[in-house]
Symmetry: C2
């Protein structure tokens, strides 16, 4: 028996769907992981911010925040009598701080953050409604080097906490909308086509789209390792405007693979789900053993000012914790009642966990076992329990 | 100019009253302080828990939670269509976990936690509505040693993060209600007397109370350093039932002063404000330089089970941060565009903060200054900026 939480699964408190208490080594692992990630981002010049958990609805849904509207818990603030919301995403908050409080800070502004976010809705992919978001944003620099810096930073954060194998999937979310605009499709089939593209449904696409649909069909077939995918994209009969969209991904891929020659980088140029507010390249981070992305990011417009182009990423901490081996609860040493404080203090100074006995007992060994300890401190010596 | 947030006070986002973003070294200091405090509590066998930010109203307001009812933000959960609340206090949540999920864990259960709490209301003493609570609870042990353990733990946490001078004020919140019950006062003056006691208003007390008021008046005059105060209490003509209430404070004071002979310990036996749910001794922690308590705690009933007596404490992190010297923003080294990654990495490995240049510039010195850096990396050497 370990010193650790003895959980009675039948007695777990009824909490709203999507909420759960996090206990013991898991709670500790989460906190430690956040610290490590933040200290790395800080070492790269990112300034840590801790935005408020609650904001007025209008600031919370500004710019990139608009995409989170459906997920926001709203209520009336009894003091201001205005609608306030619990944040569903922190990217928007970092952008808000950069464009208000830190408007006079030199550009680019680099910010990092970690904190809880809350979602009203739950689905199969995201069963939890209380999540931890870890992220970084660089606001006010439009270069490929900026895009590459945030991708490499996300990878460094994940590697440092123990995610060994990482794959980066590069997307160009503005490409499909551009091609669709170019095709001048009738409004009534536009959304059906959009859906067919998202589902990579080539049959529907061929049936519905007009003569220019062959480009879309060709685009849908391109995804996979970057060298081949970028080559295929070059060979596709794209309009000139769309061709311009290939320059940045190529630059960024070159920068990140120069630095990380063995990194798995794939390209999925037609994918755009969930990247509706992204204006440049977007990326998802995957690892072996996890079906879902463990992080995502990309370039977006952080506010109305055209100079406020930003690039950043979000790491889904719950998913990272899921794929990493669980921390074992550290065994504890039982300290019989009356033991001099200095002796147990010395153990703690050496990194041990102590559990103090609060009353004299007849059998200290039995009491140590009852408390889930693995050893006992007797006459200044730690003795293992059989 | 430091590499740090350049804050424009005129541009700070409008947030609801009592909410503010926490930036840079302050955000970092807060996170570090939490870690240090949690790791100490864990070393004493306290199991870290991270309860949910939201619960159903009925579980949130159970037991000791009832006292937080006025502070709880409530809303309707769109999934369950039930009233949910944002936690205003985490003590209740620790008690809830101990009495449900961890009901089968050996007693005492020791839990520690750190997290945000939200209050609907604000007042002069508590202007913030989003606060960080750090605390520990021991559930299921009624001894004086348990009371002493949590007081000493609170002190150790505060000392370790840099609070040098600490004073513990011991209260007996159940004493005044017992004396009042004994006086059999008419219902209509009961609350006036209660208020007079809370305000140490001896004149009103003398005028209103009956013949037994002399005990109350005597009690009100007793507060200050423990040795004298405990002596004065012994000499007061208390009824026998009330005299029983003096045993535990005396035991606890003996235990903590044995361990900490130089600790400032005071006794304020008539004080009970904010300790309405406390059943045994209660305590407040003060330090020099801060008007308000920086922590508080005491013994309470954690649920309906009479065996669920608990003792614990809460530390108000914002107040601790206020009295400590502010962390200086660490200066950053500017890394000119094109510098080999290994060179900047080596600096970070040595604990430096680097800020990468993202484009070639004519004057690297000027750019480093513009970015708020204090030095620049040139040919593998860090050169201070004049």
């Amino acid at each position: 028996m370990n010193h650790g939480p003895i959980i009675n699964p039948e007695k777990i408190t009824t909490l709203p769907i999507g909420f759960r208490d996090i206990l013991a080594s898991r709670a500790d692992a989460e906190a430690k992981m956040i610290n490590v990630m933040m200290s790395i981002a800080i070492s790269h010049g990112y300034i840590r911010v801790k935005p408020t958990l609650i904001e007025f609805e209008n600031t919370l849904l500004k710019g990139p925040g608009a995409a989170t509207s459906e997920k926001v818990f709203r209520l009336i603030d009894p003091i201001s009598q205005r609608v306030i919301g619990l944040r569903a995403d922190m990217t928007t908050q970092a952008a808000r701080i950069a464009s208000t409080t830190m408007i006079d800070a030199p550009r680019p502004v680099r910010l990092c953050y970690a904190g809880g976010v809350l979602h009203t809705t739950t689905n199969q992919l995201n069963p939890e409604r209380e999540l931890v978001q870890v992220g970084a944003e660089m606001i006010g620099n439009s270069t490929a080097d900026a895009d590459a810096e945030v991708i490499l930073l996300a990878i460094e954060l994940l590697r440092t906490v123990g995610v060994k194998w990482i794959s980066v999937d590069i997307m160009i979310p503005a490409l499909v909308p551009l091609l669709l605009a170019d095709m001048q499709l009738p409004a009534e089939i536009f959304s059906v086509i959009r859906q067919a593209i998202n589902q990579k449904d080539v049959a529907t696409l061929k049936k519905l789209a007009n003569s220019k649909s062959s480009i879309l069909v060709g685009l849908l077939k391109i995804f996979g390792p970057y060298a081949e995918a970028m080559q295929d994209l070059e060979e596709l009969d794209l309009p000139d405007k769309a061709r311009d969209f290939l320059v940045r991904p190529a630059e960024v891929i070159k920068l990140i693979t120069n630095f990380e020659p063995n990194l798995s980088v794939t390209v999925d140029p037609a994918e755009s789900r969930g990247f509706e507010y992204h204006t440049g390249i977007a990326f998802s981070l995957f690892t072996r053993g996890g079906k879902n992305e463990i992080g995502r990011g990309g370039r977006y417009q952080s506010d109305e000012d055209p100079k406020s182009t930003a690039t950043g990423f979000t790491i889904y901490l719950e998913r990272v914790l899921q794929i990493l081996p669980e921390d074992k609860q550290k065994p504890a040493v039982y300290i019989p009642y009356g033991t001099p404080h200095e002796q147990s203090k010395a153990l703690r100074m050496r990194g041990q966990i102590t559990v103090a006995g609060l009353t004299p007992v007849v059998d200290n060994y039995a009491e140590a076992k009852r408390m889930g300890c693995r050893s006992i401190l007797l006459n200044g010596q730690t003795v293992a329990l059989s």
